[in-house]
Symmetry: D2
Subunit: 245 residues, 4 copies
């Protein structure tokens, strides 16, 4: 499985508080976690906003089975033609794992068809998030403690304006009493989408083993189809009688 970890990579370069937590970029622990959990089964590369075509050329996407996406401050700087390209590639069978503030990325809104709005709270120091599994039969929950605690996080709360998930895996509670559907699966065309709400750039969430495990499981789930049987490129439009015989 070939994975591309995409990171906006803006906060880490301009804000000392973030750089202190993620000196090598937020993509570094995300990539490390995928490698640690999935091992020999994956090759992982990094792509960022400032690369040519954001590191998401046709060739790069053709060689990507699963893309992970973290963005926040610079959603608007992602070029529309790249968004359309990623969108087409997902429908053609590529998996995508969208993280935290990526809920407002162009690609996630494009795939969901809704506003993807939510309520949030950025108190200094954050607040405790508890992540509960509500679908223990799902492979993305494999090996994930029930529940697990993220000591400090930004609150994300309902109503989260997404399509009802095809499969809901995790629900979070926050110290302030809010709840959030934070682990959501979607099948779209020949591809798969997973949204996972942890974590904010101000907290060391991606260094946490449980979070890394979920992301790695999600990569495995999203990339689990080696032989799609029905991709856009192979579909016919106008179909004569008995074309399938």
């Amino acid at each position: 499985m070939r994975v591309t970890v995409w990171n906006e990579h803006v906060h880490e370069r301009r804000e000392p508080s973030v750089r202190k937590i993620y000196p090598e970029g937020m993509h570094a622990p995300i990539l490390d976690g995928i490698r640690r959990v999935l091992g020999e089964d994956v090759t992982v590369r990094v792509a960022t906003l400032e690369a040519a075509e954001h590191g998401l050329s046709d060739e790069a996407l053709a060689e990507t089975d699963v893309l992970t996406w973290w963005g926040h401050a610079a959603h608007d700087q992602v070029r529309d033609e790249v968004v359309e390209r990623v969108h087409a590639r997902v429908l053609d069978g590529m998996g995508i794992v969208v993280l935290h503030s990526g809920h407002y990325s162009k690609i996630f809104k494009r795939l969901m068809g809704t506003s993807c709005s939510l309520i949030w709270r950025s108190d200094p120091g954050g607040e405790r998030e508890i992540v509960w599994t509500v679908n223990p039969a799902h492979p993305i929950a494999a090996g994930v403690p029930q529940p697990f605690v993220i000591p400090h996080q930004e609150m994300y709360g309902e109503f989260f304006d997404i399509p009802p998930p095809d499969e809901l895996v995790f629900i979070s509670s926050f110290e302030g009493g809010e709840v959030f559907r934070g682990g959501c699966c979607y099948n779209r065309g020949a591809g798969r989408v997973f949204y996972f709400s942890p974590g904010d750039q101000e907290y060391p969430v991606y260094h946490q083993a449980e979070v890394q495990r979920v992301i790695a499981n999600a990569v495995a789930w999203c990339g689990g189809r080696s032989e799609p049987n029905d991709r856009p490129s192979a579909r016919r439009g106008n179909a004569p009688r008995n074309w399938y015989m």
Copy 2:
């Protein structure tokens, strides 16, 4: 619409603490709420465990469009043939609204096919429950504040061993940090099922206007089909070619 409010009616008679909250039985405010919200559109009767056939004879069920169910201490005293009768009637088009500890009733477990287990906590005084709407387009959420607070409740937490709801309407959080899928819709055969997790007999939950509104909405939703097009009694088994022409 013809509604039967079924109440085990055990706690209220033997425990002063419960009788104080529900002097006329827990069914009284449930029934009052349904009448207040749905008005002229409904006729409501009460049935309890100690009635002949628990008040759920073939005749009674034939004249019931929606049944609400509260039980707790005496699940085992509900006779199996009555459970099978209610089950068949649901598949034939009757709606059923199962409340709180009814998650462990024979009829709910029969309909769900799972253990329906959950985690719970009965601290004296209970704890604050906050009910969040995660599907604002659903008629059961109509007119329900986002969110609403139940000051004192027994905690019900995940993992709740139910089939993934066909439609998830409400998720609750509790002071202790747990979450719970507390408003769940199911289509089963020609009938509809709604599970709603508030409230425990130790607290005045069913006197609360928001809770009454949800129950009334659920009754309306479960009973919303006046002309089922496909009921067990009308179905054929062995079907010759072109039977439908």
Copy 3:
């Protein structure tokens, strides 16, 4: 309930074969069916492509609870700002019933987030379509025969590139052996979407009573929420602790 029947109204004016079937426009029998089934409960108006703002101004949409949509030859002539307006209004609580070739309309693709492609066959004379109910508990199936036959139709077949429906109500088979998920429900934001695949402009499908019944049921289902509890305009973004108390 206030309904707007939107019709592209192109084929009927330029093609005699279509005008013969729909001398007053395809919107005429659609409107008649809604009125006949829903009666006093609805007011219905018609809007077409050539009207100013396609008859879908802010004011018109504000006074519309449910919009029905038929388009085919002129999808591209629908202005993008109108599409965005309709999209926002759906998320704000308006229902939308998308018909047949409307699967490729800008608004449906925008709401679904997928390509909405399918396979089709336009043999002269069409072929027999049989519509099967797979969710008899659903209000959209109320009073609809199981199954019903459309004698002549254009074939629409799988794979239909839509999100898995939140509720699947009808599946069609065609003489040529293809199947199609032709009755699909979605909850999006505070609004509801129903897609119904009959019927092509070359056949008198919208004059058929069963088809009219489904469309009227869908209008009732999509417009069933009189008091949305959570609409975009009422939502907060940044939320202080205990804002809900």
Copy 4:
């Protein structure tokens, strides 16, 4: 992965027409297909009705990750305590693939909570079934032609009285015009269920490569969780505050 192929094994022994198609039992090609597709990843054993405890003792189930089930003539001879044991094991994390007439088996009805009735037609010679993928992103569809044709089959038609599938993968059409949701996924507790409607004992359906591929894919999907995070045996009931810290 450890697989148990369960076969009632009644028709093959008493009916020459069936024995001719399946001289070594229907389990033989099912087992062969699983081994051929999944190779080194699986060990497969066979269990039949006439074995002690139907070959499904506590020990046998504890060593089974996925169970496949074919039964028809002798559903009633399966002992209730074995059914309860299998049911508990599924909720505890074992996968189960239920085939064709297994829709009326005790275990499937127990898991579904519905009647599982359907319409059928057993014309001599059967009729052509075409299997369409409606979820190409699903791993059970991997490598399966879109569509594939089963030349001779018993007709199974809607309404099929099952819970709406958590994921619908295949829909079949039949020569007679009926449709059938023939590939259905369910998550139940910590376990997974797949129902696949081909094939009847009178036709060589299980010798067909596409059918074997689907069954093997389903075994892989149902058994895909090596580390369930939340199983009945590990769950607590009454939970003190902060038990998870």
